[in-house]
Structure formats: structure tokens, C-alpha cells
């Protein structure tokens, strides 16, 4: 109470200088300086080359694949993640605790391990791949394989953003609606889901951001065919190996700027979420 009477610019707590100093120095050394080198390098290429690079068919195809698949994966994760969060937060069943703990596995598991095991599973001679092959579906080395890998790495994001909100949701609103005679589906649609939408959006955007840059889990299962199944991070590596540093820097900078914009979106969504929750 006393604190709120103080003018905002006057700080009572110590440690501002030290904390901010550490933060800025470290951030500068590890993030800002290296990334500026990248952008400067890309800028060195000059507008005509930058345009030529970013509009070449191969680069565009890679962007379409990376962004397109990431978007699809984020949508899948939004749907299934929501369902998983719902089931984990609201129901009781055997194995719930185990399932809850294991949702974080894609966060804890190295992407390379996910990559080789998914490649093994969905190869035409793999457990799932052989079954799918009989149905005429190929997963490995097609964009579908990329999609599955991206769903895997993005799985926890929506679940972990929605779960806490679901758990903290006030059941009184639902109970009031019940007492007022609303049907279950209506209650869900009008009372429960609306506050969850920002959470789902945040989670899905996080999953999307993670998926566009994903390398380790995708590289084992993607076909790497230029113009068809080649993801952007691989294209960057290929350019580097061809000594096309400028080309690599230009594409990387494009990704960087796209990621930055996404981040701004995520952060504003999270700010909106906090307002919703009154935190």
C-alpha cells in the first residue's frame, strides 16, 4: 500500500544496476553482437542480391515448406494439445499422472534422438511405416514426415499453456450456467472456451515459432529435395557449404526477422492473457 503511493520512477528495491548490467552485457555478448554481424553481412550483399536470393524459386519453396508445415503442425498441436490439456486437467483416469509428466518429453529430449526414432518408425520398413505403406501412404522423405516431426517437437507448448489456465478456471461460472439451465455443449462453447483462446493462441504461436526453425528432428526424415522437401535451415547449411556466405546470411536474416515478428506477436498475446487472468 505504501509502495503504491511512491512515484513510479523511484525504486525502493536495490540491485537494479547490477541486474540490468549483467543482463545487458551478457545479452549483448551472446545475442546482439553475433546477430548484428549476421545482419551486417546480409546487408553487405546489397539490395539486388538480397532480392534475388529471397525470390529464387528454391528459397521460396523452402520457405513455403518450413512455414507451411510449421503452420499445419501448430494447428494440429492446437487441436490435440487442447484436447490433451482438457483431459489431463479435468478427468481422472489410469495413467494420467504418467501422461502428464511425459508431456514435457519433447522439451527434454534431444532433437536428434527424436529424428532417428521417427525416421525408424515411419520408414517403409518401420513399425508404422510398413502399415501405412499398405494403405498407400508414405511418410518418410515426404512433407508428411516433416509434419509429424514438427508435431512431435511442438506437442508440449499448447498443453503447457492451456493446462494452468484450465486448472485455475473458476468453476463457479460453469456451475451458475448449469443452474440456469444451459446444455453442456453450450456451457463449454460460451463459458469455458473463450478464456482459453488466448492460451491456445499463445501455445500455438510458440509451437509455430519453434517449428519453423527446427532442424535436428526433421533432417533425418525429410527428403531434402530442392523445391519439394527441403527445409530452410538445411538450405542455409547448404549455402554455407557452397561458400555462399552472403546467400546464407541473407536467408538467415530473413528467418531472423520473421522469428522476431512472431515473437512480438507471442509477447503481446501473453500480455493479453495476463490481463484476462487479472494478474
Amino acid at each position: 500500500m505504501i509502495a503504491s503511493a511512491q512515484p513510479r520512477s523511484w525504486t525502493l528495491l536495490p540491485g537494479f544496476g547490477l541486474a540490468l548490467g549483467i543482463t545487458l552485457t551478457y545479452l549483448g555478448l551472446i545475442v546482439l553482437i553475433p546477430l548484428s554481424v549476421l545482419l551486417v553481412k546480409a546487408g553487405d550483399a546489397g539490395p539486388p542480391k538480397i532480392w534475388a536470393e529471397l525470390s529464387s524459386p528454391r528459397v521460396l519453396a523452402a520457405f513455403r515448406l518450413s512455414f507451411g508445415m510449421a503452420f499445419l503442425a501448430a494447428v494440429c498441436n492446437a487441436l490435440f494439445g487442447f484436447m490433451l490439456a482438457w483431459v489431463l486437467a479435468r478427468y481422472r483416469f489410469a495413467g494420467r499422472r504418467l501422461m502428464d509428466a511425459m508431456i514435457d518429453l519433447p522439451f527434454a529430449l534431444p532433437t536428434a534422438v527424436a529424428g532417428i526414432s521417427l525416421a525408424q518408425l515411419y520408414a517403409t520398413n518401420g513399425w508404422l511405416g510398413s502399415v501405412l505403406a499398405q494403405a498407400g501412404i508414405t511418410v518418410a522423405f515426404t512433407p508428411l514426415g516433416v509434419l509429424i516431426a514438427l508435431i512431435f517437437v511442438g506437442l508440449p507448448f499448447v498443453v503447457r499453456t492451456v493446462q494452468p489456465v484450465l486448472e485455475e478456471l473458476d468453476r463457479e461460472m460453469e456451475e451458475a450456467a448449469v443452474l440456469l439451465g444451459a446444455a453442456r455443449w453450450d456451457i463449454i462453447r460460451r463459458v469455458v472456451i473463450p478464456p482459453l483462446i488466448p492460451a491456445v493462441m499463445t501455445g500455438a504461436t510458440l509451437a509455430f515459432a519453434r517449428a519453423i526453425g527446427e532442424y535436428g528432428s526433421v533432417i533425418f526424415i525429410a527428403g531434402n529435395m530442392p523445391g519439394y522437401s527441403e527445409i530452410v535451415p538445411l538450405l542455409i547449411v547448404i549455402k554455407l557449404e557452397q561458400y555462399d556466405y552472403l546467400g546464407a546470411a541473407v536467408i538467415a536474416s530473413g528467418m531472423l526477422i520473421a522469428s522476431f515478428i512472431l515473437l512480438l506477436a507471442i509477447n503481446s498475446l501473453q500480455a493479453r492473457m495476463r490481463r484476462w487472468q487479472g494478474g
Binding site: P14, W86, V113, I116, L155, P164
Partner: protein, 289 residues
């Protein structure tokens, strides 16, 4: 989870407080099926392949000197990277959430950049900076200092990709908690360190733990950034995930999956630790990832 007490309901009336049995069963089934197919099966495959030729072959695959070197490097990386990024995360969260200053939102976004940028780019920027044709390259070469294509490069690239994890967990959490308690402590005569250790830390410990575990998981498992920066020197600059790829590419599938299974077990241990510690405490504080 509050439930309407039966006693407050008129006799004979059934209230749709939850979904019907059938819907619930269906949802649970779908969720479990999804979980099994997308999460469980890949894990089972790892162990099935690792043990395909029996336990002896599995064990032999792990005892190879180059594998041991990879394990050492991975552990060394984690032990260096996690504390550094934890200190950074705490410092950044303290500065951002307990004070007001201009550019705060920009700072938060900048901290998040390594999270959303492709790890390949994360590795590449250091090669461009410290490599021979890079800005600092000639100076480093002249002084015989090796950063990229040597262990320091691996550590720095991992620092980059794991930088945001602790901060991301702490910032929303500490923002929610506000500054009242700390200010009260200061006015009661505590100094900054005491305030932090006795007031702030207990409040944030679950968010901090989760952030540390995520940071650790990523530090151990990072592949893309390290692949660009490591130089693939067997026995020297290969981390465990890289070594998995090396073994896989040399037709040593059992050994590749054996090392992968080690990584799965490390990930499991992390999750079990988190679950155990959390179950000993109060309900989860809603820190957003």
C-alpha cells in the same frame, strides 16, 4: 476441482456438470491414442533398436572411447551452460519485473530471440564471428585461440540457444507476484541479497526449477547449432547428439540407438525429478512457459 455437492441439488435432477460418460471416454481415448503414437512409440523404438542385438552389444556400444568422450563433453557443456544461464535468467527477471524502465518490452523480446531463431542460425552466427574469414578470425588465429571447431565454440553455441529458458519462466511469474513482499522486507531492514534469498527465491522456486530443467534438457540435447560449430572431431568436439548421428552414419545402428537411449533416460530422469519435487509441494503455480 470444485464439484457441486450432491446435497445442494434437488433430488432426482441430473445436472450436466461434466461431459457425458461417452464423450469423456471418447476424448480420453483419443488423447491417449495420440499420446501413444506421437510420444510413446518413438521412445519404445529407441530402446527396441538399441537392444536388438542383446544386452552385451548394447553395453559394448556405450563403452567405446569416442562415446565416452561425447558423454563427457555433453555433461561438461550442461554443467557450464545451465548455471550461467540461470544466473542470467534471475538477473534479467529481477531487473525486468521489479523495476520500470523504458525499453522493457524490447528487452523481453530480445531475450526471446534465441528461442525462436533456428538453431542452425545460432551456430552460423558464431562461425561468421569467430571463423577465419570472420570479424575476429584473424586475431584469434594469430593468438592461436580456437573457438569455433573446438570445445569453446560448442559451449558458446549452447549458451546462445539455451539463454532464454530460465528467464522465460521467471518473468511472467515474477511479474504476477509483484514487488510488495520485497519492498516490505527492505523497509523492515533486510538488504538486497537477504530479500532475494528469503522472499523472492521461495516464491519463484517452481518456475525456477522448471526453467532450469528445460535449460538443461536443451543444453544436453542441442543438435543444430552444435552441428554447425563443432567440426565433428571424433573424441573431441562431438556431443552425444552429434555422436548419435556419427554412429548412425557409420552403420553402427545398435550403438547409435544405445547412445540415444542414454539421452532418453537422461530426459526421463529430468522429468521424474520435476514430478517428484512438484508432488512434494503445493499445487503448481501457474507460470506460463
Amino acid at each position: 476441482m470444485a464439484r457441486l455437492k450432491a446435497s445442494s441439488v434437488a433430488a432426482g435432477q441430473t445436472l450436466p456438470l461434466s461431459e457425458s460418460r461417452g464423450v469423456r471416454a471418447a476424448l480420453i481415448t483419443i488423447a491417449v491414442v495420440f499420446f501413444v503414437f506421437f510420444l510413446l512409440l518413438p521412445l519404445i523404438v529407441v530402446f527396441a533398436e538399441a537392444l536388438r542385438q542383446g544386452f552385451h552389444a548394447y553395453w559394448a556400444g556405450l563403452r567405446d572411447p569416442e562415446t565416452l568422450a561425447a558423454i563427457r563433453l555433453t555433461l561438461l557443456t550442461a554443467i557450464l551452460v545451465v548455471p550461467i544461464n540461470t544466473v542470467f535468467g534471475i538477473a534479467a527477471a529481477w531487473a525486468i519485473t521489479k523495476f520500470t524502465f523504458a525499453g522493457k518490452n524490447l528487452l523481453i523480446t530480445l531475450i526471446d530471440v534465441p528461442f525462436s531463431v533456428s538453431p542452425v542460425i545460432g551456430g552460423m552466427v558464431f562461425v561468421l564471428l569467430f571463423g577465419l574469414p570472420g570479424v575476429l578470425g584473424p586475431w584469434l588465429a594469430a593468438h592461436d585461440i580456437k573457438i569455433v571447431f573446438a570445445v569453446p565454440g560448442v559451449i558458446i553455441a549452447t549458451l546462445f540457444v539455451t539463454l532464454p529458458f530460465v528467464a522465460r519462466e521467471l518473468i511472467p511469474l515474477m511479474q504476477k507476484q509483484g514487488t510488495d513482499q520485497e519492498e516490505a522486507a527492505i523497509m523492515l531492514g533486510a538488504n538486497g541479497l537477504q530479500t532475494f534469498l528469503r522472499i523472492t527465491l521461495p516464491n519463484i522456486k517452481w518456475g525456477l526449477l522448471y526453467g532450469v530443467l528445460l535449460c538443461n534438457g536443451r543444453a544436453i540435447g542441442e543438435f543444430g547449432a552444435v552441428a554447425v560449430v563443432s567440426g565433428h572431431i571424433m573424441g573431441l568436439t562431438n556431443t552425444m547428439p552429434l555422436h548419435v548421428e556419427v554412429l548412425y552414419n557409420d552403420f553402427n545402428f545398435v550403438a547409435a540407438f544405445a547412445v540415444a537411449s542414454l539421452l532418453v533416460m537422461m530426459a526421463f530422469a529430468t522429468l521424474v525429478l520435476k514430478a517428484v519435487l512438484e508432488s512434494r509441494a503445493a499445487p503448481r503455480s501457474a507460470g506460463l512457459p
